[in-house]
């Protein structure tokens, strides 16, 4: 199974029953597979006129009560930013899978990159909470896609699965759970009169009633009160902000996921995610074989970033190396959190080629000589 296929099957397993998309390399297989799989399970596949429309359609379907997703790559992800912001502001659960390729613009369409890390965080305008998951294997592409739907439903937010072309096109053996744990959307417990579709609960969200039942309400991209009606009242808006940030911040333990390998006695930590984490894991083995104490920290949730764990890590190790297929986007975050306690260096390339274990090993050896 390859990564795109795993993401498509993960979506089906998570209960996705609506997909709207537009062909774009290297994510197209997801659409192709779902065009066959969704009708099999009674779901709807539609190839829209562009990515702007795809993003809008999945919001509409989600409001209609269907779990919805779209998949795209860099240029399409740029087009989706407008309506992605709408989904954030109106708290509509949906999943966007972005298979990164080299940008900017048309870039290198078939080549792998990790250049959309910051766009996934800040691509749509204005401050906003967002959840971004990064799989580094085909297995994780499946598991994290299921998780993306679960988090989207639970926190009523768009969730981005940020793949790279390495994982998307990689074919490998996976062991899938028979029935993954799936979060389904609860119906409101209160009467339609008492229902507040956008209730400001500290650290929680109101259940989202599907349109077309007796729960009639208003959905808008304007900043709104708990009933969904637009407001310019600064007091209400600041309460809205508290709600929006706390629904994520209060659940970091649940949202954040990372994996550590051989960090207990490590002097040098690698922080790597996505396809690059595979080369980093191999580099750790190679370094250990040469007697250098290296370890790996691999975030699976990249936004929000595992800040606490990273601060702790910076206190434990002497040096941190961040290999990534961009010019150092997550390195900025790691540097900020390390706060000078551990020296941070990057191994970067954005030329379409994967970072190899040897490149990372060379960086490890360089800093280990410096340390000695």
């Amino acid at each position: 199974m390859h990564g795109n296929e795993a993401a498509a099957e993960g979506a089906i397993a998570a209960g996705c029953r609506f997909y709207a998309g537009y062909p774009i390399t290297p994510s197209t297989e997801i659409a192709e597979i779902l065009s066959g799989r969704l009708p099999e399970v009674g779901g709807v596949f539609i190839q829209m006129e562009d990515e702007i429309a795809s993003m809008a359609a999945i919001i509409g379907a989600s409001l209609g009560g269907l779990k919805s997703a779209t998949a795209t790559s860099g240029p399409g992800f740029s087009l989706m930013q407008e309506n992605l912001g709408f989904a954030v502001a109106s708290e509509i659960p949906c999943v966007v899978i972005n298979v990164q390729r080299v940008g900017p613009s048309t870039g290198l369409p078939t080549k792998a990159a990790q250049g959309d890390v910051m766009q996934a965080r800040w691509g749509t305008h204005g401050d906003h909470p967002i959840i971004v998951l990064v799989p580094s294997s085909v297995q994780e592409a499946y598991v994290l896609t299921v998780r993306a739907f679960n988090l989207a439903e639970k926190f009523r937010t768009p969730v981005i699965v940020l793949m790279d072309a390495i994982v998307a096109q990689l074919k490998e053996k996976v062991e899938l759970p028979d029935t993954p744990q799936v979060v389904n959307r609860p119906l409101p417990a209160e009467s339609p009169e008492a229902y507040k579709p956008f209730a400001f609960t500290e650290g929680g969200v109101a259940p989202l009633a599907p349109f077309g039942r007796e729960y009639r309400y208003h959905v808008t991209g304007l900043l709104h009160d708990e009933h969904g009606f637009p407001t310019e009242d600064a007091e209400v808006v600041s309460r809205w902000w508290r709600h929006m940030t706390s629904k994520i911040d209060a659940h970091l333990d649940e949202i954040l996921q990372w994996e550590e390998a051989l960090l207990d006695d490590a002097e040098i930590a690698l922080v790597a995610y996505g396809g690059t984490a595979r080369a980093a894991a191999h580099a750790v083995t190679l370094a250990r074989a040469q007697g250098t104490r290296a370890g790996l920290f691999k975030p699976l949730t990249i936004w929000p970033f595992p800040e606490k764990a990273m601060r702790e890590l910076a206190g434990r190790v002497e040096r941190i190396i961040v290999p990534e297929m961009n010019l150092g986007q997550i390195r900025l975050e790691v540097e900020r959190l390390a706060g000078g306690r551990a020296a941070v260096e990057g191994v970067n390339r954005a030329d379409g080629l994967a970072i190899t274990p040897e490149q990372i090993l060379a960086a490890i050896m360089k800093v280990s000589r410096l340390a000695a």
């Binding site: 390859h2 609506f18 709207a20 009708p39 099999e40 399970v41 009674g42 709807v44 539609i46 829209m48 006129e49 429309a53 795809s54 993003m55 809008a56 359609a57 999945i58 919001i59 509409g60 379907a61 989600s62 409001l63 209609g64 009560g65 269907l66 919805s68 407008e82 309506n83 709408f86 096109q169 990689l170 074919k171 490998e172 053996k173 062991e175 339609p192 009169e193 008492a194 229902y195 507040k196 599907p210 349109f211 077309g212 009639r216 309400y217 208003h218 959905v219 808008t220 991209g221 009933h227 009606f229 637009p230 595979r278 080369a279 894991a281 191999h282 083995t285 994967a354 190899t356 040897e358």
Partner: protein, 418 residues
């Protein structure tokens, strides 16, 4: 944002029409209204909480696309979109495609098609001070004609000053399956009433009809999908294979057959990654397969244990990155300058001999790989092939694979190095 008084009246009229419609038939599902217009009449009516209708205030122009998703989820709920100039600016593409696909929704276009240069008009309303010459230069947008040209189910124009007509047309539009547009104007010298009708199935009705057979297939095939997992039968340290040739050598298929043989039939962990050329265009094609009884970290064969070279280009590119003790197999017919220590196996010739086609070169290569490692056996390769090679030519491919195996064994034991 200040708002034209006339629109408040329009809103009231439209919602009155919709409510009248609901009143006509108690069983009718209330419509969902979508609009980006900022005016919200029910706020004015002082009702906190429940709105008289479900209402989505989507981004300008995008409401049409949003409604498509909603239509997929709610096949029976009438969707009414109230749009202004956003239908002929940001929303044009969504409008023409919804009309072409004939997606079940009703668009009420306010003023969008009335002024001679509505695009300019929309800018005016957005607060731009457009000079008069722009109005002369710009040609009018005609969304009703566009929708009609693409075969929308129902296209009509209603006069705001005739609420009965509006309610009547709205009624008809909502009852028409498919895409309906009503231009809502006031006092313009334009033809009113039904402008065009076109019989074509509603998109999602057609979708459900079209996909019915697929749904049944899925029920029948659901048991067949589950395959038992096998644990490794033997310990295999990480073994990297790279097969490199040109598009048309069947390199991708070879990678698939090899990785699945290792993964499904030998119970190993296996990865496959490649950069494939197309058969028509030639061009380099390469696949990396990594097999191991332990989970695989780095999924590429940068330093292969076994390298199969099917073209001179591949030899130039890859022969230098070998693991110490690696085996290189080359096809002497394709590679003129042979790397030292390479084993010559006439791969494409064997492919032609056994299958008649050079595309079986990849399959012959797998026989060579099986001769170099005990990670995969000919038996598991042949079982893996069964899933990917048409039955009619399966036997020929098995023979080709075995020939690659035999030739490689002979070359190794006979010490035929070049």
């Amino acid at each position: 944002m200040s708002y034209d008084r006339r629109f408040a009246t329009t809103w009231q009229l439209l919602l009155d029409s919709i409510c009248t419609l609901m009143g006509l038939d108690a069983n009718r599902e209330p419509p969902i209204v979508l609009s980006s217009l900022p005016d919200l009449p029910y706020q004015r009516s002082g009702r906190e909480g429940a709105a008289p209708l479900s209402f989505i205030q989507g981004p300008p122009g995008r409401n049409i696309a949003l409604a498509i998703g909603l239509r997929a989820a709610k096949p029976n709920t009438p969707l009414v979109l109230i749009m202004s100039a956003d239908s002929i600016t940001l929303g044009t593409n969504h409008l023409i495609h919804a009309a072409r696909r004939n997606i079940g929704m009703t668009l009420l276009l306010l003023r969008a098609e009335v002024t001679a240069a509505a695009a300019v008009d929309s800018m005016d309303r957005a607060g731009w001070d457009m000079p008069a010459y722009q109005r002369e230069l710009e040609t009018a947008s005609r969304p009703l004609e566009w929708a009609s040209a693409l075969g929308a189910s129902f296209v009509a124009r209603a006069d705001l000053e005739d609420p009965d007509q509006l309610a009547h047309l709205l009624h008809r539009a909502i009852d028409t399956p498919g895409f309906s547009v009503i231009g809502v104007t006031a006092g313009a010298q334009l033809q009113m009433g039904v402008l065009s009708e076109n019989a074509w199935p509603e998109y999602f009705d057609a979708y459900r009809e079209w996909t019915k057979p697929l749904l049944r297939l899925a029920v029948a095939g659901s048991q067949a999908r589950a395959a038992p997992a096998r644990s490794p039968t033997h310990v295999v340290p990480r073994f990297e294979v790279r097969i490199a040739g040109l598009g048309g050598h069947g390199v991708k298929l070879a990678g698939t057959v090899l990785s699945e043989a290792a993964g499904f039939h030998e119970g190993l962990w296996a990865t496959q990654r490649g950069d494939y050329g197309s058969a028509t265009r030639g061009g380099p094609s390469v696949v990396d397969v990594v097999m191991s009884s332990d989970p695989i970290t780095y999924p590429a064969a940068d330093h292969p244990d076994a390298l199969i070279v099917l073209s001179q280009g591949a030899a130039n590119r890859f022969a230098k990155d070998l693991k110490p003790g690696a085996r290189v197999i080359i096809d002497p017919a394709e590679v003129s300058s042979l790397p030292a220590g390479a084993i010559a196996v006439p791969i494409t010739a064997l492919a032609r001999e056994h299958t008649g086609k050079p595309i079986a070169a990849g399959i012959v290569s797998l026989g060579c790989v099986a001769a170099l490692t005990d990670a995969v056996s000919l038996e598991s390769l042949s079982r893996s092939m069964a899933a990917h090679v048409p039955r009619a030519i399966a036997e020929k491919n098995r023979a080709a694979c075995a020939a690659g195996y035999a030739a490689t064994r002979a070359a190794i034991t006979g010490g035929v190095h070049v």
